[in-house]
């Protein structure tokens, strides 16, 4: 009978981690639905970017208040995980504070976790105020209505509850240590929870143990639940920020990729020795569609971008189109891409691993043409993203589909392109007049 808690714990752990692995597999499957793209170049630079941007949070602090608060939550999250390791070992082995023999080091660790936990609570409260009381512009844009807003608040609530459970557990433990209860040897320093312990004055040892155990169990079960909530929330960035910054764009922001299939065709067109009447090679595969009208036309890094987005809206708040009241919001581009990818993923799950056309696509059903044509390609969104997401690449890929597959550019742009084709300038001037300026005063 004495092993029942260990067994229950082991089962909870296996279920929690097992379900998480299942979600990770689904995530990875969905991302791999994207087209292949070569990102094997310049590994040292990629590692550096990951270390600086994801690990070092360098782009978060561009906005100092949010950046500082975020670093607190981030450091708290990572460091308090050392405590989670102890909790897991205790749970499996039936021990209590298995790292306690570390002595002074242990005291220091527990003490720092407590201070961090308190700071995390403070930061999360600030985050909540920014979202719900101050109502910062970027948190109340139209695409945030409904689930995205609730999702964001839910995450904040979960974080506060987890931290409070951790401190309550320590507070009860501290009180038990003071009372000299069996199994509760003196261990750890409790700079924060000693004040919680005061609330427990006068409680019996058995009640204190009940509180300590309840908080302990709820804390670890809460962590397992949160781990599994990630996939359904906007919060995947805590994991995906690392690969995403690794695979982020290394080229100058202004450089757009040259479409290789187009290069081949243009070369053929310009080759004077090519036979214009040559019969098509029967074995030749159908040429790829140009540009993107759905998520499967995007590459896997773009899909990874979509899952990494935590909807902070820094991109949207820097976007000149959005700032001047246009429909375009780079954050919405990423949210739409993810929503559509999820829909495609579910379709594949429901149809035995095969995507069955559902009469929907990313273009028009999620992202409107009006949004796409409002972009100035200024890269402000790319620059603003703290985790190297590139909404612009998706916008351009979709414009390519509109122009090259559907000839559906706005008529002004068709005029511009007509001029370009006929006289080598976006305006209707004769190419022979290009040097006239040199003769004018």
């Amino acid at each position: 009978m004495q092993y029942i808690p260990n067994i229950v714990f082991a089962i909870a752990l296996i279920l929690g981690i097992g379900y998480f692995i299942r979600n990770v597999k689904k995530l990875s499957r969905n991302i791999k639905l994207g087209k292949d793209v070569d990102v094997s170049d310049n590994k040292p630079q990629r590692w550096t970017n990951m270390a600086k941007i994801a690990l070092g949070q360098t782009k978060m602090v561009v906005r100092p208040i949010a950046g500082l608060m975020h670093i607190i939550v981030y450091v708290g999250f990572i460091i308090i995980n050392i405590e989670v390791l102890e909790i897991i070992l205790d749970g499996l082995l039936g021990t209590h504070r298995i790292f306690a023999p570390l002595g002074a080091v242990y005291d220091f660790l527990i003490g720092s976790f407590e201070i961090l936990a308190l700071l995390v609570i403070v930061a999360v409260v600030v985050f909540w105020i920014r979202r719900n009381a101050i109502r910062l512009q970027r948190f109340i844009k139209p695409e945030m209505a409904g689930w995205p807003k609730n999702d964001a608040n839910l995450i904040l609530y979960i974080e506060v509850v987890l931290m409070l459970l951790f401190l309550t557990m320590n507070g009860a433990d501290y009180q038990l240590q003071q009372l000299g209860a069996a199994h509760y040897e003196q261990a750890g320093a409790f700079p924060v929870s000693q004040y919680i312990a005061q609330l427990f004055d006068g409680l019996t040892i058995s009640n204190l143990i009940l509180i300590e155990r309840t908080a302990w169990w709820l804390h670890i079960l809460g962590i397992l639940a949160f781990l599994n909530y990630l996939y359904y929330s906007k919060h995947l960035h805590i994991l995906l920020a690392f690969p995403n910054t690794y695979y982020g764009k290394l080229k100058p922001q202004g450089e757009f990729d040259n479409v290789e299939a187009v290069t081949n065709e243009v070369k053929l067109m310009m080759d004077p020795s090519a036979d214009p009447f040559a019969a098509a090679d029967e074995n030749q595969a159908d040429p790829d569609k140009f540009g993107a009208s759905d998520v499967l036309d995007l590459n896997w890094v773009q899909l990874l971008n979509a899952y990494t987005c935590t909807e902070c809206g820094r991109c949207t708040s820097e976007c000149p189109a959005n700032q001047t009241g246009k429909l375009l919001s780079p954050r919405k581009i990423m949210m739409d891409t993810r929503d559509r990818l999820e829909e495609v993923g579910k379709n594949i799950d429901a149809n035995k691993g095969e995507f069955v056309p559902d009469g929907k696509q990313l273009l028009d059903d999620y992202i409107t043409r009006e949004e796409l044509w409002a972009c100035t390609t200024c890269n402000a969104c790319v620059e603003a993203c703290p985790v190297s997401i590139d909404p612009l690449s998706i916008i351009v890929e979709m414009r390519r589909f509109l122009v090259m597959e559907q000839s559906a550019a706005p008529s002004d742009l068709n005029n511009m392109m007509g001029n370009l084709e006929n006289n080598g300038a976006p305006w209707p001037f004769n190419q022979m007049d290009r040097l006239n300026w040199a003769q004018e005063s």
Partner: protein
């Protein structure tokens, strides 16, 4: 003034068996747009004054394809690019300077993948080099003490990390350089990029160039300096929209330097 401009073409130099040190890529705006032509001329006058060995392609130049590429027309872009690359390679061009950040970005970043490899620099970088080498001097004069705010063109600044050359030039004028709320990496677009120059804006509350002009006006400048012909147009329109054209000039960095030298 045309009599004091010397604008050799690649074709004429080639016929004489000469090769200039640098090709001046004028661009469509610089060739055809009345406002941008003034920038072109200002830059050529500085080149002449500094005795730079340069040439232009003249009628052999064609759009780099930038607006087509940003609009999504990769075919048209690559047609333009490959045609231009054939011309540039035939003349064995090694170095290109241009006053247009869009041409700059496209030739520098997107042409190499299509067979066009050149050292490409923006005219503000080139002017900075001329100053550093002592080929031109621009201290004091007309702009001494004037409040000048500099607008970062997206395709020069954020897209290619050229922030300092234009600023150093403005400071060399002994002018007071004042920064806008959004500058350098966080510079706000003028509204012309991504082929927006050639179309009506989508429905919204405001035009982007008006928003950016408001940011510029907050610095209470006497001059708004730009380094892109399209930004220049957008900011000029913005200043007109605010009815400030009598008190605030929108000038290219090359024009500031040419004016300071009385060219």
């Amino acid at each position: 003034m045309s009599d004091n401009m010397n604008v050799p073409t690649m074709a004429s130099l080639f016929a004489e068996g000469k090769q200039p040190e640098v090709l001046f890529w004028v661009g469509c705006a610089g060739s055809f747009d009345d406002r941008a032509k003034k920038i072109t001329k200002a830059f050529v006058k500085i080149l002449n004054k500094a005795g730079v060995s340069f040439a232009v392609l003249g009628t052999e130049e064609s759009c780099t394809g930038d607006p087509a590429k940003r609009a999504g027309n990769e075919f048209l872009f690559q047609m333009q690019a490959m045609t231009n690359i054939e011309v540039l390679n035939a003349y064995e061009i090694k170095k290109v300077v241009t006053a247009c950040p869009h041409c700059f970005n496209t030739i520098k970043n997107e042409y190499p993948g299509l067979g066009g490899n050149y050292e490409v620099i923006h005219h503000t970088q080139f002017l900075k080099q001329l100053v550093d080498e002592g080929k031109i001097s621009i201290e004091g004069g007309t702009y001494k003490g004037k409040r000048i705010t500099y607008h970062d063109p997206c395709y020069l600044g954020r897209a290619n990390n050229v922030f300092e050359a234009p600023r150093e030039l403005i400071q060399k004028l002994d002018a007071e350089l004042v920064e806008m709320k959004n500058c350098k990496k966080r510079g706000l677009c003028c509204g012309a990029g991504g082929a927006q120059m050639f179309k009506e804006p989508e429905k919204g509350d405001k035009d982007v160039n008006v928003e950016r002009t408001e940011q510029a006006l907050e610095t209470q400048p006497e001059i708004i300096a730009a380094a892109c012909p399209f930004c220049n147009t957008m900011m000029t329109d913005g200043v007109k929209n605010k009815e400030k054209e009598a008190s605030i000039a929108v000038l290219d960095v090359a024009e500031l330097i040419a004016n300071a030298q009385d060219l």
